[in-house]
């Protein structure tokens, strides 16, 4: 065990994973409360189009992924707020189109030698130092934003109309939140991949939601579940030689099922 922990790639994996767990744990609370799970799926798949465009143009795929994810977040958000068409319909169209564009871009990039599977499913054991620095920088910004607006975001999730009357900048918070989700998705591409990140943005919050009525405790529990999922999943990946993104998501689902079976909210009010 100690041997494993002394390996630099494992240390980077644990550090990166813990940063992602803290961010995803907090974000997933709001995703569950505001029922935005499908929006997370939409944004993450949109990012794939960006990755592929980067590969085609020969520039850093992260840059194009961030642009695509942010554009996806803002388009989905504005369609959702204006109620032009149903939100699920717009997400269904947008993410399939972005994936299709991604496939076309990759087909056009004839001499690419990029591991597309790595972007889709991630490999946390392949993190390098610069990935960690990027995750720390983005993570600090995100947590700072959430710390400032935490109560206001709870208010907007609970009763949006009254929040507006109280002068809370509900629309600004909504778009900022979606942009934060987009940034989180991009920094997590290498760790769990585009396909699996949406699970990390939903399961920890959904698990904690079944335990408590106290929103602070809910947030703390959500982060703890995310950390447990990342650490246990990571070790499972190492020991059983399985893809880390998948073992992390399966571990999170396992924790979710245990809590679902115990159903604590029906027993005691926390």
């Amino acid at each position: 065990m100690i041997e494993v922990l002394s390996m630099p790639f494992m240390q980077r994996a644990i550090t990166g994973g813990l940063i992602l767990a803290v961010i995803a744990g907090v974000l997933s609370v709001f995703i569950v409360l505001k029922r935005l799970s499908f929006i997370g799926v939409g944004i993450s798949h949109t990012a794939f189009g960006g990755v592929a465009l980067g590969v085609l143009l020969g520039i850093n795929p992260y840059v194009t992924a961030i642009i695509f994810a942010l554009l996806g977040a803002i388009s989905i958000g504005s369609i959702s707020r204006r109620g032009m068409i149903h939100e699920d319909t717009s997400i269904g169209i947008l993410f399939a189109t972005a994936m299709a564009l991604g496939v076309i871009f990759i087909a056009l990039a004839k001499n690419y030698n990029v591991d597309i599977m790595g972007y889709l499913f991630g490999n946390i054991l392949s993190l390098v130092d610069s990935d960690i620095y990027l995750a720390v920088a983005v993570g600090v910004l995100i947590l700072l934003f959430l710390a400032i607006f935490f109560r206001r975001m709870i208010f907007a999730a609970f009763d949006e109309e009254v929040a507006v009357v109280n002068g809370i900048p509900v629309a600004f918070l909504f778009y900022m939140f979606l942009s934060i989700v987009a940034l989180t998705i991009v920094i997590s591409i290498k760790m769990v991949g585009i396909i699996l990140i949406s699970a990390m943005l939903v399961i920890p919050g959904a698990t904690a939601y079944m335990i408590t009525y106290d929103f602070l405790l809910l947030t703390i529990l959500s982060v703890l579940f995310a950390i447990a999922g990342v650490l246990l999943g990571l070790f499972a990946s190492f020991w059983f030689n399985l893809p880390s993104g998948a073992t992390i998501v399966v571990t999170l689902t396992f924790l979710f099922l245990i809590v679902l079976a115990v159903n604590p909210k029906k027993r005691v009010i926390l």
């Binding site: 409360l33 609970f158 009763d159 009254v162 507006v164 009357v165 109280n166 002068g167």
Partner: protein, 259 residues
Amino acid sequence: MKKALRVSGLNVTLSGRRILENISFDVEEGKILGIVGPNGGGKTTLLKAILGLVSYEGEISIFGFSPAEARKRGIVGYLPQRSLFDPDFPLKAKDVVALGMVKGWFGKLPSDWKERVEHYLKLVNMEEWKDYPFGKLSGGQQQRVSIARVLAGEPQIVFLDEPNTGVDVVAQEDFYQLLTKLNRELNLTIVMVSHDIGVISSYIHEVACLNRVLHYHGAPVCLTQPEILKKVYGPAADRVLVHDEKCENCGYPDISGGK
């Protein structure tokens, strides 16, 4: 006396349909205005327009400010029509009341926020329920906690949309007495949409009878004048008046079976 609310030449059109037409009225500070009218008559839309939640033409001024400015300054309180809350939402009654004090972009909670939460929960008789999940309370209890939330923001004017939906008769009576008390003690201006027009008539200073256009605005005596109610409610007017013990010789048949 100072004008708390001034509405002038207000028109609202939603999805191509004119909902409100040329509405003008004033409310003086410290008054209670009841807005009555049939379903679909535009009562809720009127409140939303005053609060700047739907787009409108015309002029609206709340203590001299536009709706957006009034919201920014935190001088308005709003209780929307009761909606169904997720019973598992992670907020307790005390948290909901505290939200009423969260205002603007960066406004901080007042240092005595915990005492204020206790105070307002006590005022609406819900202090025993402070640690109970809000979503698990009964409809009437949720409504009282929501009133406490509105009051905790210490607004100068409050807008209440059908505050008694789903509340039993005894609780309704208590609720109106509470409103009267707050109005007197805090000089709080109250604008309230209601359908139980017979009951509210004894608690309000003025009434506005609304059905797309404003048919009457003035003392609640209109509720005893069949011709005005007929204009607002049409032939169904006979059936809209809920009589109470203070309602005598109102000119309407008692359809409650002499209760």
